[in-house]
């Protein structure tokens, strides 16, 4: 093996007792003494560290670099800002892959492309042959001067955090990049990998620094993993390997890029790419692919076979090259491209409480290039040592969306079927339902500490009104210009509800300090949707013959910084936001946050952002909210820049706090306020849209559009019972507003301080009493949020688990979100939060159940406050009760 190349870590592999093999001209560790199975399992449960220095690393610089990369790669390199990476293909003219690669842009003026070790020379020669037409492009092969280490698995983040000297980890999104210092060396750090792990990092360092870095990671507990487990991990994750799922197939033909599930996502036809290599062929593949997604019978001339995951349904291990046969018949329908037996941790618990046990299972799985007409769930047969063994096409083997773990998905798991409904005679079921409803109401209303910030118990009066007639009626209505803009109803018997709606609008106008309120939307999310739809409507007013234009640029809070789901492209904004032509992603930019306080907007940094992005819409408001929004400051900036931006404030969480104690949105300059009426507000579960505009104002057409998009745009019947209830809640709110709002905010500060005194990690600024709203945010350990929240529930303390800005989604949540509004309503005052905090700390810090103590405590707070009482009220309530 003397002529084989050795990575800078070679000596360490040998010293660790690795079995060294030849791989693509390199002498590499196939496994360490623990073996492939153990290395695989350790990566999935703890962390694995891989030497991937054998891979090719090319650096591109110069004024022609971007144009060159756009030409020789399939993905849209122009979409990368500094600090971002993307998976990409090096295509040939026929739409096949010369190689697959990862493109990193760590710094503004340089691109780093990582290619397969076995293709390094081929790729290099290809690039050299193509570069002439692209002006100034400097290409350097830095494979030997730079080493590359991959760190993958649920503990990879804590391993890195422990060794980080300076800098911070890249934001918790796949393909995010950062530059940090570890052990005195500059490390280029990427959230990328080849294992399917949601927590994954790849590190690039100077050759000399690689050894100490490796030692440090191993000392922190990362298990060295060889090429053997690297292959089983990537196979389980369904990731392609060049030479198997990409390149030439069994019969020597190019595998089309669109035949490979992940590879096809790398192809961009952005106009910014112009005529890139293979574009025409890829476009044909793309067209055909779209067709056969729509019709099973669509022709398959360029994509006769595609890569699909399969699982063996009987004993036997499928290996690469094995023939795939249909369930019946002898015509070969494809070939296995990769296959082996992989281990997995067996789980227990189910749903969010799913956890790995210490038991290991094995499953024979693979990827196959099969007839593209065969779909998921299709039984197939795979040749295993001369015998046709039964197998089944599956959608995936592993899911990465529930951080911090990659979760195995077994094709024959009983969990997939879900529990069956119990069989019982109907009358038994009726009684059971009634008993369960009573039990649940007693539990939540009398025995629990309800601390979910988005919830509120309505007063008995509000509840009663919500079930009275007209709860079952229709009252569609629309302004008609022919009748001097009168609201014309489509149904009869609606006079009462017309009156209620008018009175409700009046009350809410008074409450919000505005001139228009739309009350027909039945949720906060629907309120936002109606506004987005109205904005799109207004933007396209001039020409109704063309497709309505979507919003070109929106500024909002991202979800991990507490932004509302309903302000995101994944939520209500989805169908109303345009794609940014450069990034090909929804055209949303995010409010910057203070480096020292991620819950606070960095107002100073907004000026440049506004000037650069000129958003059409700014969405204030968060669901994890500790501070008022900088509406006044942003309004001034927008005016200064002469922008026509609409300022919308989604006050869902803080609608009940509107006023001098918290924030007055219209005084601060908001154009539109939306909200849900049942969080800090006293109402039934509904939404509202409000504006402060007159018929002669520039914003008046937007108001008219909001009315249209509420009805007929969003609702037909608008839940008239809860509308009636909401009117009573609005009376309550206007009457008790000052007293209630003062108490809620004082209570939240009291809870925050008490929790801090109990030794809990309370987020926010101590100088402000941690919070200026009804919410308190408490950090528990990383990814422990769901488990801690469940333990609290077992002790009758009901809270939300919450992911913070550093966490990879809700399953990795490391915080709790608590709100005091509901318990304030039940009469809790500042001092009452001391014992409440003690009980919370008992559960969270000491794992001590406090269910009985909570029950006893709650008995003191059973009577609803801030609502109307007295004999006249009681008499009328009884009358209403008798009418049900």
């Amino acid at each position: 093996m003397s002529e084989l190349r050795k990575t800078v870590l070679h000596g360490r592999h040998v010293a660790l007792g690795a079995k060294m093999v030849e791989f693509a001209g390199w002498e590499m560790p196939i496994q360490y003494p623990t073996g492939i199975v153990t290395e695989h399992l350790k990566t999935r449960r703890f962390a694995g560290v891989f030497d991937v220095s054998h891979m090719g690393r090319f650096v591109f610089r110069g004024s022609g670099a971007l144009a060159f990369l756009q030409h020789v790669l399939t993905n849209n390199a122009a979409a990368l800002d500094a600090g971002q990476a993307q998976y990409t293909m090096i295509p040939n003219e026929q739409g096949g892959a010369i190689d697959d690669a990862y493109l990193y842009r760590f710094v503004e003026d340089e691109y780093l492309l990582v290619v397969n070790a076995g293709n390094r020379k081929k790729d290099w020669d290809h690039f050299q042959a193509m570069r002439a037409a692209f002006g100034q492009v400097e290409i350097r092969d830095e494979s030997e001067v730079m080493a590359m280490i991959s760190l993958q698995g649920p503990l990879s983040k804590s391993v890195l955090s422990n060794v980080l000297k300076s800098g911070t980890l890249p934001e918790p999104k796949r393909n995010a990049l950062g530059i940090v210092e570890i052990a005195g060396a500059r490390v280029l750090l990427a959230r990328t990998g080849y294992t399917g792990e949601p927590l994954c990092f790849e590190l690039f360092v100077d050759r000399e620094a690689a050894g100490p870095l490796w030692d440090l990671l191993v000392a922190q507990g990362a298990a060295p993993v060889g090429l053997g487990a690297r292959d089983t991990l990537r196979l389980e994750a369904g990731l392609p390997l060049y030479g198997h799922e990409l390149g030439a197939d069994q019969e020597g033909r190019d595998i089309p890029i669109f035949a490979c599930p992940l590879a096809k996502t790398t192809v961009s036809f952005s106009p910014l790419k112009e005529e890139f290599v293979g574009r025409a062929a890829l476009q044909r593949q793309h067209e055909e692919f779209k067709e056969f997604l729509l019709h099973d019978e669509a022709p398959r001339s360029v994509l006769p076979r595609i890569i699909r995951p399969f699982a063996m349904a009987e004993k036997g291990i499928a290996r690469a090259g094995a023939k795939v046969l249909p369930a019946a018949g002898r015509n070969i329908t494809g070939y296995v491209t990769s296959g082996t037996m992989v281990p997995y941790w067996k789980t227990a618990g189910g749903k969010l409480a799913t956890r790995f046990t210490d038991e290991v299972g094995m499953r024979a799985i693979g990827l196959a290039l099969v007839d593209s007409r065969l779909g998921v769930g299709q039984p197939i047969r795979v040749e295993v040592r001369g015998r046709a063994a039964e197998a089944v096409l599956v959608p995936f083997h592993l899911r990465s969306e529930a951080a911090p773990y990659a979760r195995p998905v077994l094709h024959d798991s009983p969990e997939a079927k879900g529990p069956a409904a119990p069989a019982a005679p109907t009358l038994d079921k009726v009684q059971m339902l009634l008993d369960m409803a009573a039990e649940n109401t007693i539990w939540r209303q009398r025995e629990c500490l309800n601390l979910i910030p988005s919830e509120m118990t309505t007063s008995p009066l509000v509840r009663l009104l919500s079930v009275m007639d007209p709860a079952f009626r229709y009252a569609e209505h629309k302004q008609v210009r022919a009748f001097y803009n009168a609201e014309i109803f489509y149904y009869q018997g609606t006079d009462f509800i017309e009156e209620v709606e008018r009175m409700l609008e009046d009350e809410l106008r008074t409450y919000l300090g505005c001139t228009q309120v739309e009350t027909r939307v039945i949720s906060g999310q629907m309120a936002n949707t109606a506004v987005f739809s109205a904005l799109v409507d207004c933007a396209s007013q001039i020409d109704h013959t063309v497709e309505r234009r979507r919003l070109r640029q929106v500024l909002n809070h991202p979800i991990l910084h507490g932004g509302h789901l309903s302000a995101q492209p994944m939520g209500a904004l989805r169908d109303y936001i345009a794609r940014d032509p450069k990034t090909e992603r929804p055209a949303v930019v995010h409010f910057p946050t203070m480096p020292c306080n991620p819950y606070r907007t960095d107002v100073a940094a907004c000026g440049e952002l506004l000037e650069r992005t000129r958003p059409e819409l700014i969405i204030f408001g968060k669901s994890m909210v500790l501070h008022p929004e900088p509406v006044r400051e942003i309004r001034a900036m927008v005016n200064e820049l002469g922008l026509r931006t609409v300022l919308m404030y989604d006050m869902a969480h803080v609608l009940g706090l509107v006023g001098p104690h918290f924030q007055e949105p219209f005084k601060d300059g908001a154009d539109v306020v939306t909200g849900s009426t049942h969080k800090t507000f006293f109402g039934t579960q509904r939404g509202i849209v409000s504006m402060c505009s007159q018929p002669e104002d520039a914003r008046w057409p937007l108001w008219e559009a909001v009315r249209r998009r509420a009805f007929p745009g969003s609702v037909s019947n608008h839940h008239l019972g809860t509308l009636l209830g909401l009117l009573m809640a609005a009376y309550e709110m206007n009457y008790f507003r000052n007293e209630y709002q003062t108490q809620v905010i004082a209570n939240a500060k009291a809870l925050a301080k008490a929790l801090k005194r109990c030794g809990m990690n309370v987020a926010g600024d101590p100088a402000l009493g941690y919070t200026q709203t009804h919410q308190v945010l408490v950090e528990v350990d990383y990814a422990k949020g769901p488990e801690v929240a469940r333990r609290l529930e077992e002790s009758n303390i009901i809270v939300n688990y919450q992911a913070t800005a550093n966490e990879e989604g809700f399953t990795a949540a490391g915080a709790l979100r608590l709100g005091v509004a509901e318990m304030t309503r039940f009469g809790m005052r500042e001092a009452d939060f001391d014992p409440a905090a003690e009980m919370i700390a008992d559960v969270v810090l000491r794992n001590r159940p406090v269910k009985d103590a909570v029950r006893t405590f709650r008995r003191k707070f059973l009577d609803m406050k801030f609502c109307f009482t007295g004999n006249e009220i009681e008499t009328r309530m009884e009358q209403l009760h008798r009418l049900i």
Partner: protein, 131 residues
């Protein structure tokens, strides 16, 4: 250390003759187990079936590879070590003892001629490892 009382095939099986009963016990060598790595699958022949020298009798698979198990002798399969299928680690832990795989009834005691002795087999593995 290779047991001195066994015979070895170039395909890395070992064979032990119980002369009184004319039964040959076979398994795979320590070297083979080490080369395979984590064993994840084992297919043994049916009792009563025929074993033919130098032809596949079963299969053994690790994560990385599948290899055939060759019969070192010709005869009839009289017993297989079925519990191995649940304890693959036995094969690498005790390849010449509890890790045995198949017992084959042979016609006469001369069947082991042509197999390698321990020293010859050791040389053979060294030449293979050198590749």
């Amino acid at each position: 250390m290779l047991p001195g009382d066994l015979k070895y095939a170039k395909t890395h099986e070992w064979a032990r003759l119980d002369a009184g009963a004319n039964v040959v016990t076979m398994g795979i060598t320590d070297f083979a187990a080490e080369q395979l790595g984590d064993i994840v699958f084992l297919e043994l022949p049916k009792v009563g079936g025929k074993a033919t020298r130098d032809t596949p009798l079963g299969a053994i698979e690790s994560v990385k590879v599948a290899v055939d198990l060759y019969a070192p002798v010709t005869g009839e399969v009289v017993e297989v070590n079925a519990p191995l299928a649940d304890n693959f680690e036995t094969i690498s832990r005790d390849p010449y003892g509890q890790g045995w795989m198949v017992k084959i009834k042979v016609a006469d005691a001369g069947v082991l001629s042509g197999l390698l002795g321990p020293e010859e087999y050791r040389k053979h593995t060294e030449s293979e490892a050198g590749h």
